[in-house]
């Protein structure tokens, strides 16, 4: 980038930042960095700069970059939830693309800073993952890269299984604390004043223990559980589990608000760009770019940018009192909405602060929008001996419910640690909270093998298929499936 180009871009970032503030966007300071394509794709595939090294990131990098080189897809921008907010722009972008991306980034920035689900995220996560990466590298030197890689493979295959309800303040209970809580037998929250309750209630004799099952309650935090209780792991291995778990916790708010976050950023890049003083050529280029980002999904999925953007636009319109008389407008209970007027802007800022994708869709993905956005449910069906993807339903309630259903627990099966001394042999029993969707037995078998390599003793998983209880077992060598 020449000196003149740099000055030009700087001037425009200033104009756009000023415009964003004028609309009420409340951002962290932003650090923009103009980088070559390979840096963008590296950042995109590792999700954070300087994250630890693993072949799965290399694979994603390869796929994304190849796809870009063949002109099939392009990442315009990467932005990280940090304070100051870090944003990366691809150096081959045109000046107009840069302006577009800057406006989009400021939307994300405001969202990171103000959405309630981001309240507890670690804004210095980049520093933290750099330290993680250094430690993992040190372990590679000490124990051998292949040993560490194999261990990472195992941990990464279950990286989604921690307690997604966690906040940064969460602390695990030790077995003794569990036992003490259980014996106390009440539902009172554990606080530093707990001992006062004990004084107040006197010395009632505790109930005798009813067996020694551990964990006493089913434990959803599989990663945390293995870190603390897997019997034969070494210290560095527990450290790696902990690092991966911390990184996953950091990503949770972003997983939770994908549609809103992209919708919000798209809403603002359009609002800001439309009102900038652009040349006619730039306006045309902007419109092209805008419609390439905001187009329907791939038939088999939805485009979160497109859906989120349209919902925010719809909310603004409706709360400004510009309802469409042809479409019934009901809230999620089916009650007719009161039409406010002139509150559109206030309303969308409230929504961006208070909601996550699930509540956002449940409340604001209306009948009219589902029709306008041409959303439907589909499923695999056999037709004349051929397996086809066939549209099942376009009824708005069914589509919305199916969409939300698929987002339960981020679309990941919910797994609990049920018993760490199963069969009194120190084997691990996991239970799948079955909700009508059967597991992929083949994938599950391969994952159980990895869990076995962490637990080092046979691992069991109970699930269901069509009302039949299924018991999977992996002992490191063989996988068995039994119907109970």
């Amino acid at each position: 980038m020449t000196h003149a180009e740099r000055e030009y871009l700087e001037k425009w970032i200033d104009i756009i930042t000023e415009a964003a503030a004028g609309y009420g966007l409340d951002c962290y300071p932003t650090h923009f960095e103009v980088v070559p394509d390979y840096v963008i794709y590296e950042l995109g595939s590792y999700s954070l700069p300087a994250r630890f090294s693993h072949w799965t990131f290399g694979r994603d990098y390869h796929r994304q970059k190849t796809s870009y080189e063949y002109g099939m897809s392009k990442i315009y921008e990467i932005v990280f939830n940090t304070d100051p907010c870090q944003a990366f722009l691809m150096d081959s972008n045109s000046m107009l693309s840069h302006k577009f991306v800057v406006a989009h980034v400021l939307g994300h920035n405001d969202f990171f800073k103000n959405n309630v689900y981001f309240e507890h995220t670690d804004r210095r996560m980049i520093e933290k993952v750099r330290l993680h990466s250094n430690r993992i590298h040190k372990y590679e030197e000490e124990f051998g890269p292949l040993v560490v890689e194999e261990f990472l493979d195992s941990v990464l295959s279950i990286e989604e299984h921690f307690d997604t309800g966690l906040t940064a303040q969460f602390r695990r209970k030790t077995p003794e604390e569990y036992e003490a809580d259980r014996l106390r037998g009440d539902q009172k929250p554990a606080t530093e004043y707990d001992d006062l309750w004990d004084i107040a209630e006197g010395d009632d004799p505790p109930e005798p223990p009813k067996g020694r099952k551990f964990p006493p309650e089913p434990e959803k935090d599989l990663l945390g559980f293995l870190r603390d209780y897997a019997p034969e792991l070494e210290k560095w291995q527990r450290d790696i589990i902990n690092m991966i778990r911390e990184e996953m916790i950091y990503f949770i708010p972003q997983m939770r608000t994908k549609i809103m976050n992209e919708g919000w950023a798209s809403f603002w890049h359009e609002r800001i760009m439309t009102n900038l003083e652009l040349t006619p050529e730039e306006h045309i280029e902007f419109r092209k770019l805008h419609s390439s980002v905001l187009s329907p999904g791939s038939k088999m999925s939805i485009n979160p940018y497109y859906v989120g953007y349209n919902i925010f636009r719809d909310i603004e319109r409706r709360w400004n009192g510009e309802g469409d008389p042809e479409l019934p407008e009901e809230d999620w209970r089916g009650e007719r909405l009161q039409r406010p007027t002139g509150e559109g802007m206030k309303k969308i800022f409230d929504v961006r602060r208070d909601e996550a994708d699930t509540s956002f869709l449940r409340k604001y993905l209306t009948q009219g929008l589902i029709k306008q956005l041409d959303m439907y449910t589909y499923k695999k069906e056999e037709v004349n001996g051929e397996d086809l993807w066939v549209v099942q339903d376009t009824d708005w309630r069914k589509v919305r419910d199916s969409l939300l259903e698929g987002m339960t627990n981020f679309g990941i099966p919910m797994i609990y640690v049920e018993d760490a001394d199963y069969d009194r042999h120190g084997e691990l029993l996991l239970v799948h909270a079955y909700d009508g969707k059967p597991l992929d037995a083949d994938y599950t078998a391969r994952t159980l093998k990895y869990i076995h390599s962490l637990w080092k003793r046979p691992v069991h998983l109970q699930t269901q298929r069509d009302d039949q209880t299924i018991h999977f077992r992996h002992d490191g060598e063989t996988f068995t499936e039994t119907e109970l």
């Binding site: 932003t30 279950i158 999925s301 397996d387 993807w389 549209v391 339903d393």
Partner: protein, 386 residues
Amino acid sequence: MQRFSLSTDTCDLHRRAERDRKRHNDKVKEIIKENLGGIISQQDIITADKGKIVKIPVRGLELPRIRFDNDERERVGQGGGGTKQGDVLGRAPQEGEGAGKQAGQEAGVDFYEAELTLEELTDLVFEDLHLPNLEDRGVKQIMSEHAEFNSITKRGIASNLDRKRTLLEAYKRNAREGKPGWNIKNEDRRYKSWEVVTEPQRNAVIFAMRDVSGSMGEFEAYICRSFYFWMLRFLRKKYSNAEIVFITCHTEAKEVDEHSFFALGDSGGTRMSEAYRLAMHIIEQRYNPREWNIYPFLFSDGYNWGDSECVDLMRSLVDICNLVGYGEIANDIWSQSPHFAPLGQAYEEAFADEKRVCLVKINNKEDVWPALKAFFSKHPELQEVS
């Protein structure tokens, strides 16, 4: 407060993606190598043109997860407008079917399709193959060349940047300048570089012998061609100056050119001893065993007249050759049996303790690869395939 900052000249020493990409590619290759048996015996690969891209579906490059059965699941999609109930969105991929690069993110498919040129595949196939027991013989030294990363330069391309040395140089310079630290300047950068290493090659001659009698059907001929196809590629790649003698045999043996060698079979009876006799004759005429490393290979279905004669001739070959190979392509009852057909059995009895004889039985297409490995491993021992 400053609301933004802009930088346009990022230093990029942190290029872990290239390293991880390479690690991923290596893993792809590992998996392909494990499955070479199935891959290299495919007709379309053997008949492929030079430079052709071979697509190989590879499984296992996704980490497994506990996930839902996609076939059973209902999901939500989005069209361009007017989609109705019952519309067909597309064909679902079948079991074992690759679905391009984005596999894994699409429904029900977890195949990664690796793309290799035929040359890359050949390199993989040959990586661990060698002419066994190769010795220094004779004066007609042949040179072979290859590149070795063994030096360091101050200029180079980014992908060859040697990070460790760069950091070391930076550290030394900073120390020299009296401000210890890791501040890196352009002058500190060091790049890996290579040199072309020339190595003397030894003289070698390979006898490719093939049974073309009437009992050699289409399958047997295919196995034979498939084996020799890869053997030739391997020899020309790694031992570019090795000489190859082609011999076909039914009741008579003939020295032929490469083209007729690969043409379809003949008819009539079988006397494999004639092939050995011709090979012996050619050795006496052209390849003095003191100067040449000699490797005769014969492929037959094991139905033969005069097995004891073959054993005797093979014994005299063993005395002068580095390795004598016999590949038996099992047909009829022999493909169901763990044993060799009569000719193979005769060899097995006669050469049980002879390390210079390598006997291989081939039951199906997938056995071609183990046969290659058996013949061209560095320290051959008596092996039986499958």
